[in-house]
Symmetry: C2
Subunit: 441 residues, 2 copies
């Protein structure tokens, strides 16, 4: 039987961003490297495939009531690699606000430094506030961002592939270090970039770092089908998840790839404790941290509705929803997921906010460790995903609870690895090496 | 008595780039994180202030006979922070080929992750090959690069200062996380950049990471006088070093700063062993790795001379040198240092190459541990520098030899710290905190 892959999100204070208000919370934990090192060690002890950190290069408007974007993920995750030996690291980075040469170098360095455990979660950055930090008069249109992302990843992957195996000769007698004929420029000239290459050094153990891609829109799916090793996605309904995975596999095939080379990792916010009662109590406690009126208003806006027409406790029916998903901070994937819920039965904005970690879009799964394991098993076996990116509701509690309470159940059931079998993340995900690794003769 | 500061360069295989040819050398050590972690632990055991890594975002043309630029320094040094607790880390980064917002975020993250041990070595990137990796048709002129660097550092330091102390309120009862009135946009609109800000999170323990600056030209000195906490410099003669330090201090005063807030760290290539005889033997061994004809030709070109007119063993006199330093890969600082040597007495190109680690410009100091300690003491006491950036000739040998053989002598003489006295690099360098650090009420 195939096994599920499991990633754990490091987002702090948690996917309930208001979890900093809980009595036990350290409100500055998201800046504390000791906190993240503890989490990384917990994840590795549980044989988690990789830890994950999102990002967006701007201050979010909601800083008045919760921390948003934290430290640069690449620096943070590069550090965590030193206190772990098997754990993969997935750092989010923007194709809109980086140059491909630096991006390729940094993730190649991460692959060397982690000895083959590096992954990049590629995003085009939907946060409008980011544009003004990079000299743009306005937030670039989605279609432009994705066209740029295509070219960006084309450049980056070709840079990663630039050194052939055996390019380093290192003949001490003759003094010949490398064979320039096996180190290739790319001489790319495209719509967005001109990049000569090659990179200063050859590939790390994975050939290419694992590429994770998170867009649920048409453009996002096409990008994933072409470049992604792992698609990170959101779904509020099992049917929606199954349909998404089938669609991605079909598109990968259409792009000439083996559909088994594209893994779907479904995001789910987990709130779990040893007992159902304790989990329910903690959920009530977390819900009490939420500024419901404001969050309901944001969610309504993201759905194209107005807080003037809908209070937090007014039911929203499918008929209330506008045909088109409005542009803005909400991604297509999130909007689609929430709309699918409403299509099943009317929901109030308050319910939607509470059911998705304050309105962040991902499904909230609250329950005892057994109940959470049952749920993930059911979704996995129904073909909803190849694995899950588990997003702790309150990271201070749920990261450890998931690793220590839920994971052993999944391992006992044979659904998740009990040991790390392959030194590289790519290998553990069942992906072929991107290319053969050079070695000295 | 004031003490010297000591940094150690991690450059591998060494500042003699051809040291990979030595019998004991691992030609791929410059990609091996275990190698760098070993070095970091050795440096910390010796109470070295910081380790240093240079960079340039391009493949160097000389890859046929030696490794050049290695892994991205930020990723590598962020990792080394996890295996050390006091050691500072100085990562080189380019103001020409980065955006200031990302740059500010990454080094701010490094400061958080290291708990106040982060430094950036700011360079404008003199390598012509870099331009083509970033969409530029030609290598930008030095004056343009420095004008950009001024604006870049102005933006970066203002971003770093954006969160006032106390901006994070974290009132669990009211749910107020931060006070937006104490988090400042910069709304910069300049010649090169438009950056709104603020950064997503507040400052690390140092307020601002330590800024190291390495340019010896007029433009470089002015930039240093305004922004640098530490000026990394090159000198082949004691008089030249003393004059440079006095000039920097005068310029800092002219820029309205206390000259004691700008420290000069003089680069010196060190080849050392327990005995003089062993050091001399190793120097001969290292010299034998050099492709003298080619390196002499490069050096001659950098001096504005031609290999057609001067063989490796032909003396060059001061009268042979053109008035102006030609543009190119050689920095003004390096050219000035080499010209000062020739002004003292004629040198052959071969001598100059052998005396500066294959022509890299820095002074080669070969000798027993006692002789090296004597030399550094003499230069320090003559006012040549506030400290040294020691560049191992053959890193596999000289990094450890310097830390284990030379440092204890300097400590015994009271010239170098025997313990780390301050948790931050800025504090250990005798620099005031850049600004007060915010804390929760």
């Amino acid at each position: 039987m195939s096994r599920m892959h499991l990633n754990l999100s490091l987002m702090t204070p948690g996917h309930f961003r208001h979890a900093w208000r809980l009595p036990h919370a350290d409100p500055l934990a998201y800046l504390d490297i000791d906190h993240f090192q503890r989490l990384a060690r917990i994840a590795e002890a549980a044989k988690i495939d990789a830890v994950f950190l999102g990002d967006g290069p701007a201050l979010r408007g909601e800083i008045e009531d919760a921390p948003g974007t934290g430290l640069d993920p690449l620096v943070l995750l590069g550090n965590l690699a030193a206190v772990t030996t098997h754990l993969g690291v997935i750092a989010t980075s923007s194709t809109t606000y980086n140059s491909p040469y630096n991006f390729a170098r940094r993730f190649q360095a991460l692959d060397h430094v982690t000895k083959g455990r590096a992954a990049v979660n590629v995003v085009t950055t939907g946060t409008p506030a980011a544009a003004a930090n990079f000299g743009l008069a306005e937030h670039p249109a989605k279609a432009d961002r994705y066209r740029r992302a295509h070219e960006f990843l084309d450049v980056v992957t070709r840079l990663w592939d630039g050194w052939e195996p055996g390019a380093v000769v290192a003949d001490k007698t003759t003094g010949r270090y490398a064979d320039p004929a096996r180190i290739h420029r790319i001489d790319h000239h495209g719509e967005f970039f001109s990049v000569a290459g090659p990179l200063p050094v050859g590939a790390g153990p994975q050939g290419r770092p694992v590429i994770v891609q998170a867009g649920g829109s048409e453009d996002g799916r096409d990008l994933a089908a072409r470049f992604a090793d792992v698609v990170f996605t959101v779904a509020q309904t099992l049917d929606g998840a199954v349909a998404f995975r089938e669609d991605i596999r079909r598109r990968a095939e259409g792009a000439g790839r083996d559909p088994n080379d594209v893994k779907v990792s479904l995001g789910v916010v987990v709130l779990t404790s040893a007992t159902e009662g304790e989990a329910q109590r903690r959920e009530r406690e977390l819900h009490a941290t939420l500024p419901i009126d404001r969050l309901a208003g944001v969610l309504l806006g993201n759905l194209g509705l107005s807080a003037k027409d809908f209070g937090p406790d007014d039911p929203i029916t499918a008929a209330d929803l506008p045909d088109a998903v409005p542009g803005g901070a909400f991604s297509t994937g999130f909007a689609t997921a929430v709309r699918a819920l409403i299509a099943q039965r009317p929901h109030t904005a308050g319910e939607l906010v509470r059911g998705s970690a304050g309105g962040a879009g991902h499904r909230l799964l609250t329950g005892s460790a057994v109940a959470v394991a049952d749920d993930l098993q059911a979704w996995f076996e129904a073909g909803a995903a190849d694995g899950f990116t588990v997003m702790p509701a309150d990271t201070a509690a749920d990261f450890g609870n998931f690793a220590r309470l839920v994971v052993p159940i999944l391992q006992d059931r044979g659904l998740f690895q009990a040991e790390y079998h392959d030194p590289t993340l790519r290998g553990r995900l069942g992906l072929a090496p991107a290319r053969p690794i050079g070695a000295l003769p």
